[in-house]
Amino acid sequence: MKRSFPLVFAFVVGFLVLLAEFIPHRPFNQLTSTLENWFMIISGFAILLGQISLIRVNSKIIAHKEENWQYHLAGMISFALMLLFGILWGMREASGVLGNGEDLARWIGLKPFDYLFTYAYMPLSATVFALLAFFIASAAYRAFIIRGFESNLLMITAVIVIIGRTSIGSMLTGWLPESLSFWHIPNLLILSWNTPILQRNVPF
């Protein structure tokens, strides 16, 4: 019952929404509108649930001093700070319980929440994503080795895609006339082979 009821409920609701697409009249259109509102409200609660789950999971790891618990502690402190600053002085136009924090904003240039977001969260987040470049470089060194026909094709494809994403790629074949633009490196694989291959997940 605990498992089957939510499944049956989800199925019935999904079926009703599907039905409303084919019968856009009362009561189905009203029903869909109501269900949309429900969904948005439930999604809002899901964010709260996520935060509770985050606290529970991390607290457990910190309390038991599991492996790398220090990182979890740092995460929890960061989370608590952002939450606290948001509640106390608000963010952007919205004010917090202690007002707008004009004095603090005058001192550091922004509200404390916005300051942390702009000067800590944003650069850290962009840096972590940028680290992917190192993984890609390392993977390229190991993965694109010619071992056979298929791996040769993969390597040629990769090289063309990589060159095509640079200014050099455009320069190399930019002189081609419009009628031969198919052979222009940036267009070459993206227009013809690459998309279907990626879409169909053909394993090499």
């Binding site: 390392s138 390229a140 267009n187």
Partner: protein
């Protein structure tokens, strides 16, 4: 076609370029700071392009941090357009949870989904939104997206269900997944895929922006990866030859 500008970028540019002044358009900020290096230049370029043509911009976000991304992009472009007024020329309606369902609800009624803007001004009191009741009232939609919910959801609902022209931008790595939507049915009116497309867009609107500047770094990094591939292959070839001997 402009030299070095891909067809996808040109298509996205043409959609905005061919929209009349005074039309209300929507840019959805469906990304967060992790991908802002690639996507933020697209946002700035599209805002500037729309401002240049006196189009009115509605900013929304399907990602919580998209709100801050929108705010930063507007603040930067507004330095060159100080006469643009919040509520008259642009408005930030903020983040709304729910992804695709939210877009569906926006298709039925925008004021129901966004009763106020970010600053708390009621929808009915925002001058530029008078007469804008649902997605169909918008001239075009651009989703700058780095995942789900994002561009795909806008295509599925706004374009396919409500017939509003949709364009967008995404990271280079996810661009191939969106190219099939740029088809005969125009499910997607062009696509800005990664920093290169952003730099192409900047060149089309005559702006030397962050994407153009960052392209040098990206080109060097890509050439470095090519060098690694070459070294890897030479090394593998030498090992194979040694084993054969």
């Amino acid at each position: 076609m402009e030299d070095g500008v891909s067809g996808y970028t040109m298509m996205a540019y043409d959609l905005i370029e061919n929209t009349a002044a005074g039309e209300v358009v929507l840019i959805s900020f469906d990304y967060d700071p992790s991908t802002m290096t690639e996507i933020q230049p697209m946002a700035e370029a599209q805002i500037e392009h729309a401002f240049k043509l006196n189009q009115k911009i509605v900013a929304t976000a399907l990602w919580p941090m998209g709100v801050q991304m929108a705010e930063q992009a507007f603040n930067k472009v507004l330095l060159d357009y100080p006469d643009k007024v919040d509520g008259t020329d642009y408005v930030n309606l903020g983040y709304k949870v729910g992804g695709m369902v939210t877009i569906q609800a926006m298709g039925r009624s925008l004021p129901d989904v966004y009763p106020t803007d970010q600053g708390g001004t009621p929808y009915a009191e925002i001058p530029m939104l008078q007469g804008i009741r649902r997605l169909k009232d918008l001239a075009w939609i651009s989703s700058l997206s780095s995942g789900t919910p994002g561009l795909k959801e806008w295509v599925m609902v706004a374009r396919d269900s409500y017939g509003v022209p949709v364009t967008g931008g995404c990271t280079a790595i996810s661009a191939p997944g969106f190219f099939p939507y740029v088809n005969e049915q125009r499910q997607l009116h062009g696509l800005l895929g990664g920093l290169k497309a952003a730099s192409e867009y900047e060149s089309l609107i005559g702006r030397i922006g962050p994407a153009t500047i960052k392209m040098d770094a990206q080109s060097v990094a890509h050439m470095l990866i090519l060098l690694f591939i070459a070294i890897g292959n030479i090394k593998a070839h030498l090992i194979r030859r040694r084993k054969a001997q």
